[in-house]
Every structure is written in structure tokens, then in C-alpha cells.
Symmetry: C2
Subunit: 227 residues, 2 copies
């Protein structure tokens, strides 16, 4: 579970304090977790009250893009330079130990701190919005109608640099106390995965079309029976 | 998608502003979403910087319990009366529309604002820790070793009242512009679900034991082939 390289945090406030051996500050690790997560949770502060709002994101290079209605409180605050904390969490499994205390979840999470810039360049907005669709379904952005001027204007786009970021992961089985190993109970991990169910068509179905394969965030998904 | 009852927010700051028709303030709806979520994201503020930390939770009655190392920053701040925002998000499906703009996710989310109390009663701590294990695997808390004094002391427990809370949900297919309905592309929803894979045993396996069924948070889970 120990990472193979010595972790060094990009800043004191991104240094993982609890169980530091689970920390990782490698951009490759951080990017991969961000890319796999379907949603992120954006934290911001209004009048000393924290708010945490879920939203879709896109990681591109060393930036994390989030978008929303130009009128949304989160967007307005972030665009005005509010300090943000964006967190993503992937739950990989349930860890069933031989004591209540050692029960846990396997997970991979990333925390990004910083201030976002408002993307004003229309070409950049178009490219990122297309990539957001590509993320969920490769090839789809060109197959659907592109945004019109009104839609572009109604949607604000923010870019948060992934400079102050840390990852934290737990993998593997339960870490039981030696004295508990003979406890007469099953112990181990039940891995979890996001699965895609049978597609539900939105009528009218265009002739000759079929439901697309989902993209990278669903790379681990298996289709299972709906119900 | 419109809820059948007029939504009334418990406070101005929990009122859902964006797309208010997706809001719900019914305790039953809020509790069900909290119960199904595997993790929550806890937002708190330190020196004007928001932090968002994922953790396991338990909803019991009208309280949301979160726990952690007694030394964790999140716990220390929350126990000292810090304002919190706890958010859970369930991603239910990918909404593939006929325009980039109308792509979306189906989801159910809950936001709870408030201040937590530190649970100091040992019996209450024991009960909640047992219920946290029950939540993942019914019947298991009594089958494993209960917490000892050291473990109880090392783990702090917080209870957040679910008084200032709101739910927000999106369900159903894409809401395409009328003019786009004939676009030659598949449109609809690909539902998502958390699936449990084949259990991984932690040796030494106690004789005659088998991997348990997972509990309520995994109520929708289907077992699929691992790999």
C-alpha cells in the first residue's frame, strides 16, 4: 500500500496528514483519478459558510474544467476568484475486516485547491464543451448539434490549474490485528465497479442508430441486466 | 420531472436556485438518498480556504454521523463547531441528447448544512460504529470483534442534524429542442449502477465462512464478472 516513490506535497495545505503513506502527488496518478471520476464536488465559501456542489468536469492537460449556468452561485463566486477545493472520489471496494474498527473502503480520491479563471475565448469554450461530450461518448460531439451562440453565452466555463493537488488511495485487503486473524468470520474485499445497464431510447429514435459505447470514465463498466 | 408537491426550503441558504423544479425538501427523499450513498463529501473552511474531504457516513433518524481519527483536521474543526456542508451524490445515468448543450447526467444529490456535535457517550459511539458496519453488511457487526477502549478513543464521532437540507435530482431522458428531434443520432439514457464483483478473500480464510451479501447502499448492485 506504500507508494514506491517518496511523496512530496506541492504545498503545505495539500499535504495529506492522515495516513500519509496513502498520499500521492504524481501528476500522472492525479490525472488518472480525475479522468475516471464521473463527477467532482466543488467546495466554495459564501459568508463563512462552505458549500459543496457536485458537477461534471473535464481534465485537460494540467487544468480542470467545470461549467455551469452563467447565473449559478458556484460559477459566479468562482469566476470572481473565490478559493475553491475540488474533490473527486472513486469507491473501489468494501473492506470487510475481522473487527469493526478495521472495516474500510478502498478508494482513490483527489483534492485540488486553487482559484479558477473564467474562460472567455469562444473557441476554447467550444473545444472544451465538445470534449466534455467526447469524455462520455467518443465521437459523439461531432454527431450532435454544436452549441449555438445563445447556449455558449448561457454556459460559463471555469479552468482550475491542477497545481496544488494531492491524491489519496487505499487498496488491498483488511489490515487486521494479528490477534484477530483466527476470528470465525469471512474477511476480504468486495470490489465495486460502475456498470452500465441496458440503454433507454428517447423517442423518436433516429432510424439506423444504436446506443453508443461509453467512454473513458466508464472504462471499467460492464453491462449488466437492467431491472 | 416536476415534483408533485410544492417544494419549500428549510432555509434560504438551502433553497435550490438552479432549476428549482429539481429540488426536494421532503425528509423521506433526503434520507433515502443519504442512505444509498456510499460516501459523503464534507466541506469545511480553514483560514478562508474551503476543504472537501470524502468519508463514510451513517444516517440515523434525523442525524448524519461521520467519523474519523480523533487527530484529523476535519474532525477537529467540526468538533470545534465549524460550519459544515455535507453533500452526497448518486450518479444514475448518462443522458445523451441530440445537441451537445443538452447532454447531462441523471443524479440524486443531497446537501446538508449545519454544525455537528461531538458524540461523547460511549454507548452511543458503540451503537453507531456497529450500525456503520451493519450498513455495509447486515448482521456483521456482531460477527466481528467489537471496538476496544483504545479504538473507541482513537475514533471521533460527529452528529450533524439534518435540519437544513435539500435534495436535487434529475431523472428521465434528454430534453431536446423540438428542432433537434430529427437529428440523425441515437438519443436516450444509459443507466448506471454500482455493481459488486467477485469477493477477494483475505487469508487466512476462517473455515466454513463465505462472503456476505452487501447491505442497503448496494441494494441496486448486481454481481458481474470480475476482471
Amino acid at each position: 500500500m506504500q507508494n514506491s516513490h517518496p511523496p512530496t506535497a506541492p504545498s503545505e495545505r495539500t499535504r495529506v496528514r492522515r495516513v500519509p503513506k496513502r498520499a500521492d502527488y504524481e501528476p500522472g496518478v492525479i490525472h488518472a483519478i480525475l479522468d475516471e471520476a464521473l463527477v467532482c464536488h466543488v467546495g466554495f465559501v459564501v459568508d463563512e459558510q462552505p458549500f459543496v456542489i457536485p458537477t461534471i468536469h473535464l481534465r485537460q492537460g494540467n487544468e480542470l474544467f467545470i461549467h455551469g449556468s452563467a447565473a449559478s452561485r458556484m460559477i459566479l463566486h468562482a469566476a470572481a476568484g473565490a478559493r475553491l477545493c475540488v474533490t473527486v472520489t472513486l469507491v473501489d471496494g468494501v473492506v470487510l475486516a475481522r473487527s469493526q474498527f478495521h472495516h474500510s473502503l478502498n478508494y482513490r480520491s483527489v483534492v485540488v485547491l486553487g482559484q479558477a479563471r473564467l474562460v472567455v475565448d469562444q473557441a476554447e469554450k467550444r473545444q472544451v464543451f465538445a470534449s466534455l461530450v467526447e469524455r462520455f461518448s467518443p465521437g459523439r460531439s461531432a454527431a450532435v448539434r454544436a452549441p449555438n451562440e445563445l447556449e455558449l453565452k448561457a454556459t460559463s466555463l471555469l479552468a482550475l490549474p491542477i497545481d496544488e493537488a494531492s491524491a489519496k488511495t487505499r487498496t488491498g485487503g483488511p489490515i487486521d490485528d494479528e490477534a484477530d486473524l483466527a476470528w470465525p468470520v469471512w474477511a476480504g474485499v468486495i470490489p465495486l465497479r460502475i456498470a452500465a445497464l441496458a440503454p433507454e431510447v428517447a423517442e423518436p429514435l433516429a432510424p439506423g442508430t444504436t446506443a453508443p459505447e461509453l467512454g473513458r470514465p466508464f472504462g471499467g463498466a460492464r453491462s449488466v441486466e437492467g431491472g
